[in-house]
C-alpha cells in the first residue's frame, strides 16, 4: 500500500525534496547578494568620503591652472569610465550599440541599451541620461564655476557605482526570472533535469558576473585611489613650483628696485651736482657696501651716453679711450681694442669693484648690451638681456639696464623725449645659476624638486638659464616668471627629483578586495559545484528509487503469477487426494492420504495468503460495492471458523449491535467474505498463533455501530480473545508481513504471519483503521473500522426470506437464558432476538433461575441452558419446580464442545428437548426451534449423493456446435464416453437448422466464436423460434438447454451468455465436475 501510494504520487515527494534543495540554493543566492551588496555599500561610502575630501580640496584651489588640471583630470575620468562601462555592458550583453568619441568640445556618447521590462532598468536609463547630460553640459560650458565642476565630478565618480548597481540589478532580475521558470516546470522530469542544468549554468554565470563585477570594482577602486594620489602629487609640485617662482620673482624685483634706486642716485649725485659728487672710487665703495641689498647681482656699472662728437672730449677728460667689447677673447680684459667709430658710445665710467675691469668699455659695442641700452632708454624701465655667457665669470647671466635721465620725465613721456633725456645707463649683471641656487638654498625641501628656469622670449629657441635635466621628466609644472620686463618672458619648470613611489595606498585595499573577490568566487564555485553534484545525486537517487519501486512491483507481480500457477496444480493434488480418500483404503493409507490432504490444504492456504498479499501490493486488488447482510455473513464466518475453534477448544460467538443496519453496501460479496476471512484470518491466525489457554474464555465479535451519516456507515468491528496475548516487544511489528511474534524456528505456533498484514491492507482499502490492544496473559482485542454504504432491506440479499415464515411463528415467544457468563448470555439473547424471540430473560445459574425467576418461569416457552451452567442434579431440581405448569417450556442445551457420546447421552436422557452446538447461527437456531416447537418443520434432505455423470448423460441426444474440427472431435469423444448420443455440426447456421422445435436434442453445447453466425447469435435465434412456437402451442414449453463452450471463462462472457438466452457454460476442454454440475440442472429431474 505504501509503495502503491508512493508510486501513485511520486511528485509529492519529488516536490518536497526539490523544495528543500531550492531553498538551499535560494539561501546561497541571497547570501551572495548580501555579500556583494555589503561590499558595494562599504566601498561606495568610502569613496563618497574621498569625493568629499576632494571637494573640499578643490574648493581651496583658486588658481586657474589648478582648475584646468582638475578639469582635464575630470575628462580623463569620464573617458576611461565610459570605457569601463562599455566593457561592463558588453559583459552583461545589454548593450547593442555604444559609441563614444572625443570631439573638440568634449565627449559625445550614444548609448542604446536593449529595452528590458523591469522598471528599475528604466530608472537606470534615466539616471544615465542625467549623467550624460551633465557631462555634455560640462563640455560645452568650459567656463563653469568651481562648484559646478565639483558637483559634476562627484556625480561622475558616483556614476560607476550606479553602473555596478545596475549590472547587479539586471543580473538579479534575470536570476529571479530564471527561478520563476524553474518553478513553473516542476512536472516534467526531463524538463526538470534540463532546468537543473540550466539553473546550474545560471549560477555559474551569476558567479562569473559577480567575479567580473568584483574585479572591475577593484580595478576601478585602484584607479581611483591612484588618480587621487597622482593628483595630490601634482598639487604638491604646483605649490612648490609656484612658491619658488614667486620667491625668485620677488627677489629679482627687489634687486631690480635697488638697481633702479642706484640709477636715481647716480642721476642725482653725478649729474645733478656740478662738480660731480661721485667718482669711480665713491661708486665702487658705495656699491660694494650696498651689495647686500642686491644679493642677486654680481656687479653694477654706470656707463655714460657719449656721442661721437663728444668722444674726443670725453676721452681727453677721462684720460682713456673708449674700448670695444671683445667677445672672442673674453679672458683678456686688458686687450680691449679701442672702440670703432660709432654714432654713440656708452663707455663705463663707474663700476663696482667686482666688475671694475669693464670701466672704459663701450657697452654699445656689445650686441646684447646695445639692444638693452636702446630698449631701456626708450622704455624708461629696467630691461633684461637674454641670457648669455657673462664676461669673465663664464656663467649664464642677464644684464639689467636702467636708463638715467637728466630730467625727471613724466610717465607719459614719448620715446623721443626719453632718448633725448638719456644721459647714461646703469647696468647690473645677474648671475642666474648662482642666483637661483642661492634662492633655493633658502627654501625647504629643495631636494625633492628640481627647478629649471628658461627664457622663453623667443618661443622657437628657448634658452635654459638654470637647471639640469635630472628628475622625473614625466610630470612637470611650469610657472611663469615676471621679472618686470614685459619684453622678456621667463618660465620656471619644476619637477620631482624622484620618480613617484609605488602607490601602496592605492594598491593594497583594492588588492585585498580582489583577493576577497577571488576567495568568495572560489568558495561559491565550490558551493555551486557541490549543489550540482547534490542535484545530480538526487536525480540519480530518484531514478534508483523509481527502479526499486518498479522492482518491488515486479516482485509482487511475480509472486502473484507464481502463486496462481502453483495453485492450479495444487487444486489438482487436493482433488485427487480427496478422490483417493473416497476410494477403498485401509486405515493406514487413509491416514497417509489425510495427512497429505491436510498438508496440501495448508500449502494452498499459504499460497492464497501470499497471493492476496502480492495482489494488494501490486495494486491489483480492487473493491467492488455490493449489498450484503452483515449478520448472515457473520453467521457464515463463524460457521467456517467453528471447526477450527472447536479443534482448539475455543468458544466462538458473534454479536452484532442492533444499531447496525440490516443491509449494508460494501465490497463485492466475494471480497467482503475475503475481507471477513481476512479479519478472521486475524482470528484464525490469532487462533493458530495463540491458542486460548483459557478455554472457557469468551469470544465476542462486537459490531458496534459507530457513526451514521447520510448513506455512509462506519462500522467498528472488534475481535476479542482471552488468549496468551501478544508480547509487548512484538506488538510493533505485528502488521509486518511474514512476521511472527516469535520468529525463531522453534516457535510454538505455526502460520505464515501474513494474515494480519493482509487484513491491514484490506482495511486500508476500505478506508478504515485497524488496531489492537493486547495484554500478555489476558488476551487481545483487535478492532478495525470500515466505511460501508447503507441500503434499504432487500430480500434478495438478506437470506432472511427462507426464515421469514419461521420468524413469524416465533414472534411473541418468551425465553430464558441460563448462563454463568453475562457476555455469552448477551450473545445468546442477540441471536434469539434475531430469530424473532422478543423477550429474553437472563439468569446466571439454574439455582438462581429456579429461585428468583420462579414466577416468570411459568410463562416461559423456551429455556436455553449453557452447558457450563448445566448440572444434572440442579437441573432435576429445577425441572421439578416446573412440573406444575401446564405447558412446560422447551429446554435447549447450548453446547460448545461435546463428544458425540456425551451428546447422545444427554439427548437420550430425555431431560432436554434439543442440543444446539455453538457458535449460534440463525439457520441452526431456526431449525432447532422449529423442531423443538414442533411447528411442522420437516427434516430437510441433506447431502444428496452426487450422481454419476455417466448415468446422467446416458442415452441423451446432445448437439455439439463448434467450427473447429479438433474441438468437435474431442467434445464428441468426451460426451460419448459418458454414453451420450452426440451429433456434431460445424457452424451456428447448421446448429440453428438442427434446433428447430420440436426438439430432438436434450442439450446443446455451443461454441461462442464461430464465423458467420456465432454462438450468441445462434442461441438468440433458437430462443426466438422457441418463443414463437410457445406462443402457438400453449400446452408445451420449448426450451432446449444451450450451454456455451468457451475457453476464456470470464465474468463478462458469462453474463453475455445468460443475456442471450443460454443456460450456462462449460469451459473447454471439458472437466468432469464442471460438466456434471452444469448438466445436472437440466437432466436431474
Amino acid at each position: 500500500m505504501s509503495i502503491a501510494c508512493e508510486l501513485s504520487n511520486p511528485n509529492l515527494k519529488k516536490t518536497k525534496a526539490e523544495k528543500r534543495i531550492t531553498t538551499k540554493i535560494l539561501l546561497i543566492r541571497v547570501l551572495c547578494g548580501l555579500v556583494v551588496l555589503w561590499l558595494c555599500l562599504s566601498l561606495s561610502l568610502g569613496f563618497l568620503c574621498i569625493c568629499k575630501k576632494k571637494e573640499s580640496a578643490s574648493d581651496d584651489e583658486s588658481s586657474s591652472s589648478a582648475k584646468g588640471m582638475l578639469f582635464r583630470n575630470q575628462k580623463n575620468v569620464s573617458r576611461s569610465e565610459i570605457d569601463a562601462m562599455l566593457s561592463l555592458f558588453f559583459d552583461s550583453n545589454q548593450v547593442t550599440s555604444f559609441e563614444c568619441r572625443k570631439e573638440s568640445d568634449g565627449i559625445t556618447c550614444s548609448l542604446s541599451t536593449r529595452s528590458e521590462k523591469e522598471e528599475d532598468e528604466e530608472e537606470e536609463e534615466a539616471k544615465r541620461h542625467v549623467v550624460a547630460e551633465l557631462m555634455s553640459s560640462s563640455d560645452n560650458d568650459e567656463e563653469g564655476g568651481v562648484l559646478h565642476e565639483v558637483v559634476l565630478f562627484y556625480v561622475i565618480n558616483k556614476w560607476h557605482w550606479w553602473l555596478v548597481l545596475c549590472v547587479l540589478l539586471v543580473g538579479g532580475g534575470r536570476m529571479i526570472f530564471a527561478r520563476k521558470e524553474v518553478s513553473s516546470f516542476v512536472q516534467d522530469k526531463q524538463q526538470q533535469q534540463q532546468q537543473c542544468k540550466r539553473a546550474g549554468q545560471w549560477r555559474k554565470n551569476m558567479l562569473l558576473l559577480c567575479i567580473i563585477a568584483g574585479v572591475s570594482f577593484s580595478v576601478l577602486w585602484f584607479w581611483d585611489t591612484n588618480e587621487e594620489i597622482l593628483f595630490q602629487r601634482k598639487e604638491t609640485l604646483t605649490n612648490m613650483c609656484e612658491e619658488r617662482a614667486r620667491v625668485l620673482q620677488d627677489q629679482f624685483n627687489v634687486s631690480m628696485n635697488h638697481v633702479h634706486a642706484l640709477s636715481i642716485l647716480v642721476s642725482t649725485f653725478h649729474h645733478g651736482k656740478t662738480p660731480s659728487a661721485i667718482d669711480q672710487k665713491t661708486f665702487g665703495e658705495y656699491t660694494e657696501r650696498t651689495n647686500f641689498e642686491r644679493p642677486l647681482t654680481s656687479g653694477v656699472a654706470y656707463a655714460l651716453k657719449v656721442t661721437h662728437s663728444e668722444r674726443e672730449k670725453f676721452e681727453k677728460e677721462h684720460g682713456w679711450s673708449i674700448k670695444k667689447m671683445d667677445f672672442e677673447d673674453q679672458t683678456l680684459v686688458q686687450g680691449f681694442d679701442p672702440a670703432p667709430v660709432q654714432d654713440e658710445y656708452a663707455p663705463v665710467i663707474f663700476a663696482q669693484e667686482t666688475v671694475s675691469h669693464i670701466v672704459s668699455v663701450d657697452m654699445m659695442s656689445g650686441k646684447e648690451d646695445r639692444e638693452n641700452i636702446l630698449r631701456a632708454r626708450a622704455l624708461g624701465k629696467g630691461v633684461l638681456t637674454s641670457p648669455f655667457k657673462l664676461l669673465k665669470s663664464n656663467h649664464l647671466g642677464v644684464i639689467l639696464t636702467f636708463a638715467v635721465y637728466n630730467t625727471n620725465l613724466p610717465h607719459d613721456a614719448t620715446e623721443e623725449e626719453r632718448i633725448q633725456a638719456t644721459i647714461g645707463y646703469l647696468g647690473a649683471s645677474y648671475d642666474m645659476p648662482s642666483l637661483v641656487e642661492k634662492l633655493l638654498q633658502q627654501l625647504a625641501s629643495k631636494q625633492t624638486i628640481s627647478v629649471n628656469v628658461y627664457d622663453t622670449t623667443n618661443a622657437s629657441s628657448v634658452i635654459k638659464m638654470y637647471g639640469s635635466e635630472v628628475g622625473d621628466m614625466s610630470e612637470e609644472h611650469i610657472s611663469s616668471l615676471d621679472f618686470g620686463d614685459p619684453f622678456r618672458k621667463h618660465e620656471m619648470h619644476c619637477r620631482f627629483t624622484q620618480k613617484p613611489p609605488i602607490p601602496w595606498l592605492a594598491i593594497l585595499p583594492p588588492g585585498f578586495a580582489l583577493v576577497i573577490t577571488f576567495l568568495l568566487g572560489h568558495i561559491f564555485n565550490g558551493a555551486i559545484n557541490r549543489i550540482a553534484t547534490v542535484e545530480e545525486d538526487y536525480q540519480k537517487m530518484m531514478e534508483l528509487k523509481a527502479r526499486a519501486e518498479a522492482a518491488d512491483v515486479a516482485k509482487s507481480q511475480f509472486l502473484a503469477t507464481v502463486s496462481h500457477e502453483i495453485r492450479t496444480p495444487m487444486v489438482g493434488v487436493l482433488g485427487m487426494l480427496k478422490l483417493l480418500m473416497d476410494t477403498d483404503l485401509d486405515a493406514k493409507q487413509l491416514d497417509f492420504a489425510e495427512t497429505a490432504h491436510g498438508s496440501g490444504k495448508d500449502l494452498i492456504s499459504l499460497i492464497n495468503e501470499v497471493l492476496d498479499q502480492a495482489k494488494i501490493e501490486s495494486g491489483r486488488l480492487e473493491l467492488e460495492n455490493v449489498p450484503f447482510d452483515l449478520r448472515f455473513l457473520l453467521d457464515n464466518v463463524s460457521s467456517l471458523l467453528s471447526g477450527k475453534a472447536a479443534e482448539k477448544g475455543i468458544e466462538l460467538a458473534v454479536y452484532v449491535s442492533s444499531n447496525v443496519p440490516a443491509v449494508i453496501v460494501g465490497d463485492l460479496e466475494d471480497e467482503i467474505l475475503k475481507q471477513r476471512l481476512g479479519s478472521d484470518e486475524t482470528s484464525c491466525n490469532t487462533l493458530s498463533g495463540y491458542p486460548a489457554v483459557n478455554a472457557s474464555g469468551s469470544w465476542r465479535n462486537f459490531k458496534t455501530f459507530q457513526d451514521h451519516s447520510c448513506d455512509k456507515t462506519e462500522l467498528l468491528v472488534t475481535v476479542e480473545d482471552t488468549g496468551v496475548g501478544i508480547p509487548v516487544d512484538a506488538q510493533s511489528r505485528i502488521f509486518t508481513p511474514f512476521m511472527q511474534a516469535d520468529s525463531s524456528t522453534s516457535r510454538t505456533y505455526g502460520g505464515t504471519g501474513i494474515g494480519l498484514s493482509i487484513s491491514k491492507r484490506l482495511v486500508e482499502l476500505m478506508q478504515g483503521e485497524i488496531g489492537f490492544v493486547s495484554k500478555p496473559g489476558v488476551g487481545t482485542t483487535f478492532s478495525f473500522t470500515g466505511v460501508f454504504g447503507e441500503r434499504e432491506r432487500d430480500s434478495s440479499v438478506t437470506a432472511l426470506e427462507l426464515f421469514d415464515q419461521s420468524i413469524q411463528e416465533f414472534q411473541g415467544l418468551k425465553a430464558l437464558v441460563i448462563d454463568s457468563r453475562n457476555i455469552r448470555a448477551e450473545v445468546t439473547r442477540y441471536h434469539l432476538q434475531r430469530v424473532g424471540v422478543s423477550s429474553v430473560d437472563i439468569a446466571s445459574s439454574l439455582a438462581t433461575a429456579s429461585t428468583s425467576c420462579a414466577s416468570k418461569l411459568v410463562n416461559m416457552d423456551l429455556i436455553l441452558i449453557d452447558k457450563d451452567a448445566w448440572n444434572k442434579e440442579e437441573y432435576v431440581a429445577f425441572n421439578s419446580g416446573q412440573e406444575t405448569s401446564t405447558r412446560p417450556p422447551k429446554i435447549i442445551l447450548l453446547a460448545t464442545f461435546t463428544t458425540p457420546a456425551e451428546l447422545s447421552e444427554i439427548k437420550s436422557s430425555g431431560l432436554v428437548d434439543e442440543v444446539v452446538m455453538k457458535p449460534l447461527r440463525m439457520s441452526v437456531l431456526v431449525c432447532c426451534l422449529q423442531e423443538t416447537m414442533g411447528s411442522g418443520g420437516k427434516k430437510r434432505q441433506t447431502n444428496r449423493k452426487p450422481k454419476n455423470l455417466g448415468n446422467l448423460l446416458r442415452g441423451k441426444q446432445i448437439l455439439v456446435v463448434d467450427d473447429t474440427m479438433v474441438n468437435r472431435r474431442v467434445a464428441d469423444a468426451v460426451l460419448r464416453k459418458y454414453g451420450a448420443l452426440v451429433t456434431c455440426v460445424d457452424s451456428g447456421k447448421a446448429a440453428f437448422a438442427m434446433l428447430k422445435p420440436p426438439h430432438d436434442f436434450h442439450a446443446c453445447f455451443m461454441d461462442l466464436q464461430m464465423p458467420e453466425m456465432d454462438g450468441f447469435e445462434a442461441t438468440r435465434r433458437v430462443r426466438d423460434l422457441e418463443e414463437e412456437m410457445n406462443k402457438k402451442e400453449e400446452s408445451r414449453k420449448w426450451h432446449t438447454p444451450i450451454l456455451a463452450m468457451t475457453a476464456d471463462v470470464i465474468q463478462a462472457t458469462n453474463e453475455k451468455c445468460i443475456k442471450c438466452g443460454m443456460d450456462g457454460f462449460v469451459s473447454k476442454p471439458f472437466e468432469e465436475e464442471e460438466l456434471y454440475s452444469s448438466v445436472a440442472r437440466f437432466f436431474d429431474k
Partner: protein
C-alpha cells in the same frame, strides 16, 4: 523379443514424460493433461482417435497459420480482427488437443492482436509456427514408437504423468 518391447516401452514412457515435462519454470512442456484425457478417450471403437484428432489439429494449424500470415503480410492495413479470430480458433483447438505451448503462445498472440501490435503478432506467428512444427515432429516420433511397440507385439504402456 521381450527385451525389445521392454526397451521400446521404456523409451516410449520416457519420451512421453519428456513431452509433458517442464524444463524450467518458464519453459513449458509440450503437452498437458488434455492430451492424457484424449488418450483415455481412445478405445476399441476408435483405435486411432488420438492420431486422428492430432492430425486434424495440425491441418487446422497449417490452415490458420497460413491465414494469419496472409493477413499479416498486408503491410499498411492489417486486419487484426481477422488475425484475432484465427488465433482464437487456434487457441480453442490447441487447448482441446492439449498442445500446451501452442496454447500459451496463442494467449500472448491474442494480447498482441488486441493491442494491435504488429511486431508482436509477427513474432508470435513465427513462434507458433515453430512450436506446432516441433510438436508435430515430436508427436510423429511418439506415434512411430507406438507403432513399433504394437508391431513388436507389446502393449502400449499407460504413462502416468
Amino acid at each position: 523379443m521381450d527385451t525389445l518391447v521392454a526397451q521400446l516401452q521404456r523409451q516410449f514412457r520416457d519420451y512421453t514424460i519428456s513431452l509433458y515435462h517442464q524444463l524450467f519454470w518458464y519453459v513449458k512442456g509440450f503437452l498437458d493433461d488434455q492430451f492424457t484425457e484424449l488418450k483415455k478417450l481412445q478405445d476399441e471403437c476408435s483405435p486411432d482417435f488420438v492420431a486422428e484428432v492430432v492430425s486434424l489439429f495440425f491441418e487446422d494449424c497449417e490452415k490458420l497459420i497460413g491465414n494469419m500470415a496472409r493477413a499479416l503480410d498486408q503491410t499498411g492495413n492489417v486486419d487484426f480482427s481477422l488475425v484475432g479470430s484465427s488465433v482464437h480458433q487456434l487457441k480453442g483447438s490447441s487447448s482441446s488437443v492439449g498442445a500446451k505451448r501452442v496454447k500459451g503462445l496463442c494467449v500472448t498472440f491474442k494480447e498482441c492482436c488486441d493491442s494491435q501490435n504488429f511486431e508482436g503478432c509477427v513474432r508470435c506467428l513465427q513462434q507458433v509456427d515453430i512450436e506446432y512444427k516441433s510438436l508435430k515432429a515430436k508427436l510423429q516420433d511418439l506415434f512411430n514408437l507406438e507403432q513399433q511397440i504394437v508391431q513388436a507385439g507389446g502393449r502400449i504402456p499407460q504413462v502416468d504423468i
